[in-house]
Protein backbone atom coordinates (compact mmCIF):
# COMPACT_ATOMS: atom_id res chain seq x y z
CA UNK A 1 0.00 0.00 0.00
CA UNK A 2 1.16 3.47 -0.79
CA UNK A 3 0.38 6.62 1.11
CA UNK A 4 -1.94 8.64 -1.12
CA UNK A 5 -2.63 11.48 1.25
CA UNK A 6 -0.66 12.97 4.11
CA UNK A 7 0.08 16.39 5.55
CA UNK A 8 2.50 18.15 3.22
CA UNK A 9 6.03 19.03 4.36
CA UNK A 10 5.31 22.63 3.44
CA UNK A 11 3.24 22.80 6.63
CA UNK A 12 4.95 22.61 10.02
CA UNK A 13 3.94 20.17 12.75
CA UNK A 14 2.32 23.01 14.73
CA UNK A 15 -1.42 22.27 15.09
CA UNK A 16 -3.70 24.99 13.65
CA UNK A 17 -5.28 27.20 16.32
CA UNK A 18 -8.43 27.64 14.23
CA UNK A 19 -11.87 26.75 15.61
CA UNK A 20 -13.23 23.27 14.83
CA UNK A 21 -14.64 23.19 11.29
CA UNK A 22 -12.96 26.44 10.19
CA UNK A 23 -11.92 26.19 6.55
CA UNK A 24 -8.76 28.26 7.06
CA UNK A 25 -6.97 24.94 7.64
CA UNK A 26 -8.08 23.67 4.23
CA UNK A 27 -6.90 26.88 2.55
CA UNK A 28 -3.51 26.64 4.30
CA UNK A 29 -3.11 23.06 3.18
CA UNK A 30 -4.02 23.83 -0.44
CA UNK A 31 -1.52 26.70 -0.66
CA UNK A 32 1.19 24.55 0.95
CA UNK A 33 0.47 21.55 -1.30
CA UNK A 34 0.57 23.65 -4.47
CA UNK A 35 3.88 25.28 -3.50
CA UNK A 36 5.30 21.89 -2.53
CA UNK A 37 4.24 20.33 -5.83
CA UNK A 38 5.79 23.25 -7.72
CA UNK A 39 9.07 22.33 -6.07
CA UNK A 40 9.76 25.79 -4.75
CA UNK A 41 10.00 25.06 -1.02
CA UNK A 42 13.23 27.02 -0.69
CA UNK A 43 12.23 30.14 -2.56
CA UNK A 44 8.82 31.06 -1.22
CA UNK A 45 7.99 34.04 0.96
CA UNK A 46 4.51 34.33 2.44
CA UNK A 47 2.94 37.35 4.06
CA UNK A 48 0.54 36.74 6.95
CA UNK A 49 -2.33 39.16 7.62
CA UNK A 50 -3.93 40.52 10.74
CA UNK A 51 -6.98 38.46 11.56
CA UNK A 52 -7.57 34.80 12.32
CA UNK A 53 -4.66 33.83 10.05
CA UNK A 54 -2.18 36.08 11.85
CA UNK A 55 -0.27 33.03 13.06
CA UNK A 56 0.09 31.65 9.53
CA UNK A 57 3.85 32.15 9.94
CA UNK A 58 3.82 29.31 12.47
CA UNK A 59 2.15 26.94 10.04
CA UNK A 60 3.85 27.46 6.68
CA UNK A 61 7.24 25.83 6.42
CA UNK A 62 8.74 28.67 4.40
CA UNK A 63 9.92 32.23 4.98
CA UNK A 64 7.05 34.30 6.32
CA UNK A 65 6.52 37.93 7.19
CA UNK A 66 3.61 39.33 9.13
CA UNK A 67 2.18 42.62 7.87
CA UNK A 68 0.22 45.41 9.53
CA UNK A 69 -3.55 45.26 9.22
CA UNK A 70 -4.49 45.22 5.53
CA UNK A 71 -0.95 45.93 4.31
CA UNK A 72 -0.03 42.41 3.21
CA UNK A 73 -0.13 43.19 -0.56
CA UNK A 74 2.12 46.24 -0.05
CA UNK A 75 4.62 44.16 1.94
CA UNK A 76 4.42 41.29 -0.56
CA UNK A 77 4.96 43.75 -3.42
CA UNK A 78 8.10 45.08 -1.72
CA UNK A 79 9.46 41.58 -1.07
CA UNK A 80 8.87 40.62 -4.70
CA UNK A 81 10.66 43.76 -5.91
CA UNK A 82 13.77 43.26 -3.80
CA UNK A 83 13.91 39.47 -4.18
CA UNK A 84 12.14 38.66 -7.46
CA UNK A 85 13.56 35.13 -7.56
CA UNK A 86 11.03 34.18 -4.87
CA UNK A 87 7.42 33.12 -5.23
CA UNK A 88 5.60 35.61 -3.00
CA UNK A 89 2.09 35.24 -1.67
CA UNK A 90 -0.12 37.23 0.67
CA UNK A 91 -2.77 35.44 2.69
CA UNK A 92 -5.61 37.69 3.82
CA UNK A 93 -9.09 37.54 5.24
CA UNK A 94 -12.00 39.72 4.19
CA UNK A 95 -11.82 42.16 7.09
CA UNK A 96 -8.13 42.62 6.36
CA UNK A 97 -8.32 42.81 2.56
CA UNK A 98 -11.71 44.33 1.81
CA UNK A 99 -11.92 46.85 4.64
CA UNK A 100 -8.77 48.41 6.09
CA UNK A 101 -6.60 47.00 3.31
CA UNK A 102 -8.81 48.01 0.39
CA UNK A 103 -6.40 50.68 -0.84
CA UNK A 104 -3.42 48.32 -0.76
CA UNK A 105 -5.12 45.53 -2.67
CA UNK A 106 -6.57 47.86 -5.32
CA UNK A 107 -3.25 49.59 -5.98
CA UNK A 108 -1.29 46.35 -5.90
CA UNK A 109 -3.71 44.87 -8.46
CA UNK A 110 -3.61 48.05 -10.51
CA UNK A 111 0.20 48.02 -10.60
CA UNK A 112 0.08 44.40 -11.66
CA UNK A 113 2.51 43.36 -8.91
CA UNK A 114 3.75 39.89 -9.69
CA UNK A 115 2.40 38.36 -6.46
CA UNK A 116 -0.37 35.94 -5.56
CA UNK A 117 -3.02 36.94 -3.04
CA UNK A 118 -5.07 34.25 -1.31
CA UNK A 119 -8.24 35.95 -0.13
CA UNK A 120 -10.33 34.11 2.45
CA UNK A 121 -13.88 35.43 2.40
CA UNK A 122 -16.01 34.27 5.31
CA UNK A 123 -18.27 37.33 5.31
CA UNK A 124 -17.39 38.36 8.86
CA UNK A 125 -14.58 39.58 11.11
CA UNK A 126 -13.53 36.32 12.76
CA UNK A 127 -10.75 37.05 15.23
CA UNK A 128 -12.25 40.19 16.74
CA UNK A 129 -15.49 38.46 17.60
CA UNK A 130 -17.83 38.42 14.62
CA UNK A 131 -18.37 42.04 13.58
CA UNK A 132 -19.87 43.02 10.23
CA UNK A 133 -17.35 43.01 7.38
CA UNK A 134 -17.63 44.69 3.95
CA UNK A 135 -18.50 41.23 2.63
CA UNK A 136 -21.29 40.43 5.14
CA UNK A 137 -24.45 39.41 3.30
CA UNK A 138 -27.66 41.41 3.43
CA UNK A 139 -29.71 40.00 6.29
CA UNK A 140 -26.75 38.20 7.86
CA UNK A 141 -26.44 38.85 11.58
CA UNK A 142 -23.23 39.84 13.33
CA UNK A 143 -22.39 41.49 16.65
CA UNK A 144 -22.51 44.94 15.00
CA UNK A 145 -25.67 44.26 12.98
CA UNK A 146 -27.64 42.02 15.35
CA UNK A 147 -30.84 42.54 13.36
CA UNK A 148 -29.13 41.55 10.13
CA UNK A 149 -27.19 43.71 7.67
CA UNK A 150 -29.47 46.31 6.11
CA UNK A 151 -28.54 47.79 2.71
CA UNK A 152 -30.04 51.21 3.49
CA UNK A 153 -27.97 51.61 6.65
CA UNK A 154 -24.86 49.50 6.03
CA UNK A 155 -24.54 49.36 2.26
CA UNK A 156 -24.18 46.26 0.14
CA UNK A 157 -21.50 43.56 0.24
CA UNK A 158 -18.41 44.29 -1.86
CA UNK A 159 -17.49 41.80 -4.59
CA UNK A 160 -13.72 42.07 -4.62
CA UNK A 161 -13.01 39.79 -7.59
CA UNK A 162 -15.44 41.60 -9.90
CA UNK A 163 -14.09 44.97 -8.83
CA UNK A 164 -10.40 44.09 -9.31
CA UNK A 165 -11.15 42.39 -12.63
CA UNK A 166 -12.00 45.81 -14.11
CA UNK A 167 -8.35 46.87 -13.66
CA UNK A 168 -5.65 46.30 -16.27
CA UNK A 169 -3.00 44.95 -13.87
CA UNK A 170 -4.33 41.55 -12.77
CA UNK A 171 -3.37 38.45 -14.76
CA UNK A 172 -5.64 35.93 -13.08
CA UNK A 173 -8.60 36.34 -10.73
CA UNK A 174 -10.86 33.48 -9.69
CA UNK A 175 -13.39 32.88 -6.95
CA UNK A 176 -13.64 29.35 -5.57
CA UNK A 177 -15.42 27.73 -2.64
CA UNK A 178 -14.26 25.41 0.13
CA UNK A 179 -17.73 24.07 0.88
CA UNK A 180 -17.33 20.52 -0.42
CA UNK A 181 -14.75 18.08 -1.76
CA UNK A 182 -15.18 18.83 -5.51
CA UNK A 183 -14.98 22.58 -4.80
CA UNK A 184 -11.80 22.08 -2.76
CA UNK A 185 -10.21 20.14 -5.63
CA UNK A 186 -11.18 23.00 -7.98
CA UNK A 187 -9.75 25.51 -5.52
CA UNK A 188 -6.41 23.73 -5.66
CA UNK A 189 -6.41 23.92 -9.46
CA UNK A 190 -7.12 27.65 -9.24
CA UNK A 191 -4.16 28.12 -6.90
CA UNK A 192 -1.93 26.15 -9.25
CA UNK A 193 -2.95 28.46 -12.09
CA UNK A 194 -2.32 31.56 -10.02
CA UNK A 195 1.12 30.49 -8.82
CA UNK A 196 2.07 29.40 -12.33
CA UNK A 197 1.06 32.84 -13.63
CA UNK A 198 3.39 34.35 -11.05
CA UNK A 199 6.19 32.01 -12.04
CA UNK A 200 5.76 33.06 -15.66
CA UNK A 201 5.84 36.72 -14.59
CA UNK A 202 2.36 37.51 -15.88
CA UNK A 203 1.39 39.80 -13.01
CA UNK A 204 -1.03 40.09 -10.14
CA UNK A 205 -3.11 37.03 -9.28
CA UNK A 206 -5.84 36.68 -6.69
CA UNK A 207 -7.83 33.63 -5.60
CA UNK A 208 -10.86 34.34 -3.44
CA UNK A 209 -11.96 31.37 -1.35
CA UNK A 210 -15.47 31.35 0.07
CA UNK A 211 -15.05 29.97 3.57
CA UNK A 212 -17.11 29.38 6.65
CA UNK A 213 -16.93 30.73 10.19
CA UNK A 214 -19.01 28.36 12.30
CA UNK A 215 -18.15 30.10 15.59
CA UNK A 216 -19.16 33.63 14.63
CA UNK A 217 -22.01 32.58 12.38
CA UNK A 218 -23.31 30.65 15.43
CA UNK A 219 -23.69 27.46 13.41
CA UNK A 220 -22.36 23.91 13.48
CA UNK A 221 -19.51 23.30 11.01
CA UNK A 222 -21.94 21.43 8.75
CA UNK A 223 -24.58 24.17 8.81
CA UNK A 224 -21.85 26.71 8.08
CA UNK A 225 -20.77 24.84 4.95
CA UNK A 226 -24.40 24.70 3.82
CA UNK A 227 -24.64 28.47 4.37
CA UNK A 228 -21.50 29.02 2.31
CA UNK A 229 -22.90 26.91 -0.48
CA UNK A 230 -26.51 28.05 -0.47
CA UNK A 231 -26.29 31.71 0.59
CA UNK A 232 -22.78 33.02 -0.02
CA UNK A 233 -22.40 31.49 -3.46
CA UNK A 234 -25.59 33.32 -4.53
CA UNK A 235 -24.07 36.71 -3.72
CA UNK A 236 -20.49 35.79 -4.57
CA UNK A 237 -20.75 33.68 -7.75
CA UNK A 238 -17.85 31.32 -8.44
CA UNK A 239 -15.78 31.57 -11.57
CA UNK A 240 -12.82 33.10 -13.36
CA UNK A 241 -13.12 36.88 -13.60
CA UNK A 242 -9.86 37.71 -15.33
CA UNK A 243 -7.43 35.58 -17.24
CA UNK A 244 -4.62 36.98 -19.31
CA UNK A 245 -3.52 34.40 -21.86
Amino acid sequence: MATVFKKTDMLTEVPFHYCPGCTHGIAHRLVAEVLDEMGCQNNVVGVAPVGCAVFAYNYFNCDMQQASHGRAPAVASAIKRVAPQNIVFAYQGDGDLASIGMAEIVHSASRGDNITVVFINNAIYGMTGGQMAPTTLIGQTSTTCPGGRCAAQNGNPIRVCEMLATLDGPAYIERVSLADVPSIRKAKKALQKAFNCQKEGKGFTLIEMLSSCPTNWKMTPEQALDYTKNEMQQIFPLGVFKEVK
Partner: protein, 67 residues
Amino acid sequence: MASIKISRESCKGCGLCVRVCPKKILRLSKESNNSGYFAVEIFAPESCTGCASCAVMCPDCVIEVER
Protein backbone atom coordinates in the same frame (compact mmCIF):
# COMPACT_ATOMS: atom_id res chain seq x y z
CA MET B 1 -7.49 -2.74 0.52
CA ALA B 2 -7.36 0.85 1.68
CA SER B 3 -6.98 2.34 5.10
CA ILE B 4 -6.92 5.67 6.89
CA LYS B 5 -4.85 6.70 9.88
CA ILE B 6 -6.47 9.24 12.19
CA SER B 7 -4.29 11.35 14.43
CA ARG B 8 -6.78 11.25 17.28
CA GLU B 9 -5.12 13.84 19.48
CA SER B 10 -5.04 16.46 16.69
CA CYS B 11 -8.71 16.00 15.75
CA LYS B 12 -11.13 18.76 16.80
CA GLY B 13 -14.24 16.67 16.14
CA CYS B 14 -15.78 19.10 13.64
CA GLY B 15 -17.41 16.20 11.81
CA LEU B 16 -16.79 17.51 8.27
CA CYS B 17 -15.14 14.21 7.28
CA VAL B 18 -18.17 12.31 8.56
CA ARG B 19 -20.33 14.46 6.26
CA VAL B 20 -18.31 13.86 3.11
CA CYS B 21 -17.45 10.15 3.50
CA PRO B 22 -19.25 8.45 0.58
CA LYS B 23 -19.30 5.10 2.42
CA LYS B 24 -20.56 6.63 5.69
CA ILE B 25 -18.08 4.66 7.78
CA LEU B 26 -16.85 7.52 9.98
CA ARG B 27 -18.40 8.76 13.21
CA LEU B 28 -17.47 10.91 16.17
CA SER B 29 -16.15 8.95 19.13
CA LYS B 30 -18.06 8.92 22.42
CA GLU B 31 -14.84 9.51 24.35
CA SER B 32 -12.98 12.77 24.17
CA ASN B 33 -9.30 13.15 23.38
CA ASN B 34 -6.86 15.02 25.63
CA SER B 35 -8.00 18.36 24.22
CA GLY B 36 -11.61 17.56 25.11
CA TYR B 37 -12.79 17.00 21.55
CA PHE B 38 -14.82 13.98 20.46
CA ALA B 39 -12.41 12.80 17.79
CA VAL B 40 -13.48 11.01 14.64
CA GLU B 41 -13.18 7.24 14.34
CA ILE B 42 -13.69 4.70 11.58
CA PHE B 43 -16.13 1.93 12.51
CA ALA B 44 -16.06 -0.20 9.35
CA PRO B 45 -12.45 0.04 8.09
CA GLU B 46 -12.97 -2.88 5.70
CA SER B 47 -15.38 -0.75 3.63
CA CYS B 48 -12.88 2.10 3.12
CA THR B 49 -12.06 2.68 -0.55
CA GLY B 50 -9.25 5.13 0.08
CA CYS B 51 -10.99 7.91 -1.86
CA ALA B 52 -9.41 10.47 0.51
CA SER B 53 -12.55 12.65 0.60
CA CYS B 54 -12.25 12.79 4.40
CA ALA B 55 -8.62 13.88 4.22
CA VAL B 56 -9.35 16.53 1.55
CA MET B 57 -12.14 17.97 3.72
CA CYS B 58 -10.28 17.82 7.05
CA PRO B 59 -9.28 21.37 8.10
CA ASP B 60 -6.64 20.05 10.50
CA CYS B 61 -4.79 17.51 8.34
CA VAL B 62 -5.36 14.70 10.85
CA ILE B 63 -6.12 11.96 8.31
CA GLU B 64 -3.57 9.98 6.34
CA VAL B 65 -4.78 7.71 3.56
CA GLU B 66 -3.14 4.55 2.25
CA ARG B 67 -4.30 2.61 -0.77
